[in-house]
Each structure stands twice: as structure tokens, then as C-alpha cells.
Amino acid sequence: MTPDPKFTPIRKGLLEFLILQIVSADKVYVADMMNRLQNTDFATQEGTLYPLLSKMRREELVDYEWQESDSGPPRKYYKLTAKGKSQLAEFKDYWDYLNTTINQLGR
């Protein structure tokens, strides 16, 4: 299914929270994130992801630590900060609220 291009801004806006969600489950590095998103409508590329992650780190939602990898150079593993955790919870609440609103308006 190819969604209406009108939905693109919605997906773009949500990407940040999906990354919070992914990072909340486990320490991940960028290639992991991309793999998780790959088969969803939110599939993304490094060109988008790196700037976004750096912004989220500036806002102290995520943080990273370097870890040696068996193959290749050390990688940045991202994890959620306390602020990121609360933001994610806030987002989920807000998402539920939006859903309820949309469904109620339909009646």
C-alpha cells in the first residue's frame, strides 16, 4: 500500500517518537534502528536519521556510548535518558488522547 503523500508530514513528525520507542526497548545503534523501521511505513535513511539523533541528543532525550564491535570500528549505541523516558510516556498518552478524539468526532 502506498499511502497518500499528504500523510508524509505526519510520518515525519512521528519518526522522532518511534525512535524513542525503539531506543526504550534496548540499546541500539543506527543500523539496528533502520532495520526495525525498514519494513514499516517509517523506513528511513542515514541522511535523515543522523541529524535527527543529534538533535535528540542535544535535547537530552537520548544519549549514546561507544562500544567496540567484533567487525569494524566502534559503534555508537543509543539509550534513553530519563527525560526521553518521560517524553515517550507523554507522547503515548497524547497519542491515545488523539485517537480517542478522532474516534469520537466520527460519531
Binding site: P51, L52, S54, P73
Partner: protein, 392 residues
């Protein structure tokens, strides 16, 4: 054989072909520009370089250690354009538009250039073919057909393109397959630049003078040859044709004139019918064929039929008239125009459809035009036309 350039991607050395290097450099420069206000620019670029390095490593084997343009393009496609939409989503709409535009210019990275490699004349056709991603041969055939149909005017257009469209000469221009769209300001800038070069370059000037002398000589020779031959031909035609030939030719004049006029009228009627109702004399054109294509075909058919008729008429002037052929040509022209006027008058007074068509000429013309434009729009060619319009 290409020059190989060694680069350092976040601490990893890679061997790149020259074109691959240009492409990668263009990508990274665009990334830098995109991130220029970002406090973490250095870090993000380092991350991007590392990601590119990881992807590049997939293409390397023990006996293959140079990356080609195709491979780099593949890597960059996987990377995607560097976007900072997310970061600016909360800022003003104007600030939000900017990275979008930059990103889309990466998505459609093409600019029109003349490409010398594989060119027959100047590289206009190769450039256009590369721009629209079609076979050069198709473009060349199209150009020849256009030149024939327009009676050579297209050649002037071609020459104009030769002068205006820049060459993909420097590394920067080749890499700038991804720059801003080709616009009017740029044409002017380039013209200025070229003019400057042109003025300064002694070598060029000498070459140009020589070329001009050559052309002038050829032109003189050619003109003389034509004049000479034409005269001889007139002599040949006028003397040997006997009364029999002249009589037949004389009879043929009105027949051919009427025929030409009728072909012309049929052609006009066919185009009008096609544009208003989508069918010609009751025969509906296949749905798969867009209206504008069928009109092009009609134009082509008309010139294919009328051209030989015209030549036949011209030949007859010589046969009948000899030296005085111009009288016969004038007579013939008047006859054809007369037939045309007669048919128009007859149709206007005796055929209600024709009468009505002209009564509401404005609306009819509008619908016809709209139909043609619509057919054009639906055929996905609008993008191409928009790009052409940008150029003009």
C-alpha cells in the same frame, strides 16, 4: 582508465574513481551546507562518513579495491539526502520549506548540459538524452523529424541550444548533476562568462576567424554552384520538352492545384474533428493514443503528402513555362487559392455544421485547445514540458 583518488572517510582510506569522487564530494558538500547552522555538524558529518565507509566496504574484494561511480551512487542512494526537517519542524514554515527544497533538488539532481562524450555535433542531443534519461538515438530522430517538419526552423533552435546550454566541462559541473535547477539568471551569468572567455582567449579568436573564412569560402563556392546548375537545368527543361509534354503539363497544373487545395482542406477538417470529437471522419482513434500524438501524426502525414505534390507542381512550371515559369507558378498559386476560397465559401453557405462552427468559433477553439492540452497533461509529459519551460 580513470585517475584514482584516495580519500579519508572518518579515518578509513578508500580508492575512488575520479567521477565517483566528484559525486561523493558533491554529496558531502551538500550535507555540510544543509547542516551549516547545526551545532553538531562535525559529529554528524563524521557519522555520515562512517556510514558511507561501512557501505563502501561491501563493494571491496581482495582484487577489487577501487570504487566506481555506480557504486558510490548506490551508496549515496542508500544514505538518502541529508535532511534536517525533523529538527526544524517546530520552527517557522519558511525555515521548514528550505531543507525540503534542498532535498528535492537532490532527488531530481539533473541539469541540462551539453555532453561532449559521444556527441555527433555539439552534444545537445546527448545532453537532452541524459537529462530525460532516454536513448540518444530517439532524441536525434526527433530532432531530424522536427527539422524536416518545421522546414529548417528547428535548426535555428538547435543552434540557439548549442550556444545557450552549457557544457559539462569542469569537475564541478559534472558533479553538479545535483545543483540548483537551470534558470534564466544562470543563462545570463554563463553568457557573460563565456563572452569574457571568448574575448580574452586569443587562441579561440584565431580559430574562430579561420573557421569563418572557411565557411565564407564554402558558401561562395556553394552559391556559385547552385546558380550555375539552376540555370543549366532551366535550359535543359525549356528546350527539349515538346508540345506534347507541355500540353500534358498544362493540363496537370489545375488538377494538381485543386488536389493540393483539397488535401489542405481535408487536413484542416481532420484536425478540427480530431480536436473536438476525438475521431476523424467517423473513425475513432484508439483510446491508447493521446490526442496530441495523433495530431502530430496528422501533421507529419500532411507534410508527407503535400511535399511531393508541391515538387510536382514546381517541376511542371519549368516544363510548361521554360524561362517564363514564374508566370505559371503565379497562375498555379492563384488557382489553388481560388479553389480554397471556393470550397470554404461553399462549405460556409451550404453545410450547417461548418456554419455553426464558425458562428461559435471562440468557444470551439477553446474546447479544441483544452482537449489538446488535457491530452498532453494526462500523458505524463507535463513534467518534461515544465522543465523545458524552465529553460525558456
Amino acid at each position: 582508465m580513470n585517475t584514482v583518488i584516495i580519500i579519508n572517510l572518518n579515518g578509513n582510506a578508500f580508492h575512488l574513481d575520479e567521477p565517483a569522487y566528484q559525486s561523493l564530494r558533491a554529496y558531502l558538500e551538500r550535507a555540510q551546507a544543509q547542516l551549516k547552522d547545526n551545532p553538531d555538524k562535525a559529529e554528524i558529518v563524521a557519522d555520515l562518513e562512517q556510514a558511507i565507509a561501512d557501505k563502501c566496504a561491501h563493494f571491496l574484494r581482495p582484487h577489487k579495491n577501487v570504487l566506481s561511480l555506480a557504486e558510490i551512487e548506490d551508496v549515496l542512494k542508500q544514505m538518502g539526502p541529508v535532511q534536517t526537517d525533523g529538527a526544524q519542524a517546530s520552527e517557522s514554515a519558511a525555515a521548514h520549506e528550505q531543507p525540503q527544497a534542498a532535498a528535492s533538488s537532490w532527488d531530481t539532481p539533473k541539469r541540462l548540459y551539453q555532453i561532449r562524450e559521444g556527441a555527433m555535433l555539439s552534444g545537445v542531443c546527448t545532453g537532452i538524452a541524459a537529462y530525460f534519461n532516454i536513448d540518444v538515438t530517439i532524441v536525434r530522430i526527433l530532432f531530424v523529424v522536427l527539422a524536416l517538419l518545421t522546414g529548417g526552423i528547428w535548426l535555428l533552435v538547435y543552434i540557439a541550444m548549442m550556444l545557450v546550454i552549457p557544457f559539462a566541462n569542469t569537475d564541478e559541473e559534472r558533479a553538479a548533476a545535483a545543483g540548483a535547477p537551470f534558470n534564466a539568471q544562470e543563462v545570463i551569468d554563463r553568457a557573460k562568462k563565456h563572452y569574457g572567455e571568448f574575448k580574452n582567449h586569443k587562441e579561440w579568436r584565431r580559430h574562430w576567424r579561420q573557421q569563418r573564412r572557411e565557411w565564407r569560402r564554402k558558401w561562395h563556392d556553394g552559391a556559385y554552384w547552385w546558380a550555375h546548375n539552376l540555370q543549366r537545368n532551366v535550359h535543359q527543361f525549356s528546350t527539349p520538352s515538346g508540345y506534347g509534354a507541355q500540353l500534358v503539363a498544362g493540363l496537370l497544373i489545375p488538377i494538381l492545384a485543386i488536389l493540393s487545395a483539397l488535401v489542405f482542406i481535408l487536413w484542416i477538417v481532420a484536425i478540427v474533428q480530431l480536436a473536438t470529437s476525438g475521431s476523424i471522419f467517423g473513425w475513432a482513434i484508439p483510446a491508447s493514443m493521446p490526442l496530441w500524438v495523433s495530431i502530430l501524426i496528422l501533421i507529419f502525414l500532411y507534410s508527407a503528402i503535400s511535399q511531393p505534390l508541391r515538387h510536382a507542381r514546381r517541376a511542371i512550371y519549368f516544363t510548361t513555362g521554360g524561362y517564363n515559369y514564374s508566370w505559371f507558378a503565379a497562375l498555379d498559386g492563384i488557382l489553388a487559392l481560388g479553389v480554397l476560397a471556393l470550397v470554404c465559401w461553399f462549405a460556409y453557405t451550404h453545410l450547417p455544421q461548418v456554419h455553426q462552427f464558425f458562428e461559435h468559433f471562440n468557444e470551439n477553439w477553446q474546447t479544441m485547445w483544452n482537449n489538446i492540452v488535457d491530452s498532453f497533461r494526462h500523458s505524463g509529459l507535463t513534467v518534461a514540458v515544465h522543465r523545458l519551460a524552465e529553460l525558456v
